[in-house]
Amino acid sequence: MKKLINKPEDVVKEALAGMLAAHADLISVDIEQQVIVRKDAPVKGKVGVISGGGSGHEPMHGGFVGFGMLDAACPGAVFTSPVPDQMLAATRAVNGGAGVLHIVKNYTGDILNFEMAAELAQADGIEVESVVTNDDVAVQDSLYTAGRRGVGVTVLLEKIVGGFSETGAPLAQVAALARKVNEHGRSMGMALTSCTVPAAGKPTFELGEDEMEIGIGIHGEPGRRRVKLASAAEITEMLAGPIVEDLDLKSGEQVLAFVNGMGGTPLIELYVVYDMLNRILGGKNIAIARSLVGNYITSLDMAGCSITLLRLDDELTKYWDAPVHTPGMRWGM
């Protein structure tokens, strides 16, 4: 295993210490309990917006804590959902009296732990609403799965809903907008290589030099199917096709196009994929009104990418454009 780390068991805490040192103007971090809180939390009268999940997806979620996005994030061990205690601590830290929104990616572990945390917070008298993201079209949402996974849309949702929460809107409305964003977005991802969990020390799965995985999640799980390596044009089609179909995007509609790297893929390749996506959507007369290209929701050192399309309307566009100031996303201020 080749990584810039010390002891595998120290990676998460040392990375948190590094984040705190680099961004002390934006966040405060409880390294022991692994909770990242916006510096000026709790913001009086504002709904607190928190999320959490396993580590290894940086900059998500901790890199999105700050004005206009998340009030707090709780990173778990690598690829392992955080525990209810962290979520409860985060919920208490950001409750400015208007209640707290839990943004939960649809994975059994995240669901069960946030569920317990919500119960505990409510027992504390804190009003909590939970919104589950499940945008991954690679998984059929049926009785035969744990349901679609929450992936790329989570990043867009945290930005848009965080921006809206700054207006002082009540919890019910903030939660409603979050559900709307999830409804409007779909994603699909692929891997050129596996990733290596530090504590495991070797790649989670083996891939041949001429193979790739289509329909992966964000935890180094193998995908829905293993196929022969293909060109960027073909890969983009494999990912964008099912998304456009599932969202039932029509000619003339506007979208936010998000090309995300899995952590080990350089920007030059992501722009090649974006070019392919732009051509495909152009051919369908679907307009890209906003875009995001880069490594935002990753799987450690995995090479690969995911595509997320979000159907835009004025409301979503307005809060996407709203000012944001976090370690991982910043504009307008």
Partner: protein, 206 residues
């Protein structure tokens, strides 16, 4: 089963899960995210830190302490699942200084009940439930035959092992493995495996 026997069981679980951490993580690689062994080992190392203070507790509080510790340290799917399992098991054992065969069975039933209540899985979905359910049934069967506590635990462990092996051909419909669809077939479920190990430790200690 006294609180001393129970503590020996818990200590043995901590040892065995530590020894099998790499194995469980390896099982979690093809159909999961390669962390089940790491998760369980992290949880029971935290439990081990509490063994000294647990010596004076009764069985019920020992089990509840384990449940709360797992919930607070494991995370993932297995944290809330095993956490709730041990919490419920502790409740079932409430007020008892020593558990007889019937009490242990009630405790195991509550353990399984906790996993099901939290995870909503039925048998055949390729989860812990597929190891725990036959184990509980076997233990009841054994009781009907009036065997010793040790014999009962042995049969429960054997039934769990068979249930675990029987997860190999199953198509996962719960948890992370379900995302693989057909590709989940042919692999042994890591959670069912840790459940078997936990019951094997019981047979080793009572």
């Amino acid at each position: 089963m006294t609180n001393e026997d129970n503590l020996r069981w818990l200590k043995r679980i901590a040892e065995v899960l530590h020894e099998n951490a790499a194995y469980l993580t390896q099982l979690d690689s093809p159909i999961g995210d390669a962390d089940h062994g790491i998760n369980m080992d992290r949880g029971f190392r935290a439990v081990s830190d509490k063994f000294p203070t647990m010596a004076t507790m009764d069985v019920s509080n020992q089990l509840k302490t384990v449940g709360m510790t797992l919930v607070s340290t494991v995370g993932g799917a297995s944290g809330p699942l095993y956490g709730t399992a041990f919490l419920r098991a502790g409740t079932a054992a409430a007020g008892k200084q020593e558990l007889d065969t019937a009490d242990v069975i009630a405790m195991l039933e509550a353990f399984l009940g906790g996993v099901v209540a939290r995870g909503k899985a039925h048998t055949g979905e390729k989860t812990m439930v597929d190891a725990l359910t036959p184990a509980v049934e076997a233990s009841k069967q054994a009781q009907a035959e009036g065997v010793t506590l040790h014999e009962m635990a042995l049969r429960a462990s054997q039934a769990a092992e068979e249930g675990m092996k029987a997860t190999i051909p199953l198509l996962a419909t719960k948890g992370r493995a379900s995302y693989l669809g057909e590709r989940s077939i042919g692999h042994q479920d890591p959670g069912a495996t840790s459940s078997w190990l936990i019951l094997r430790c019981l047979a080793e200690t009572v």
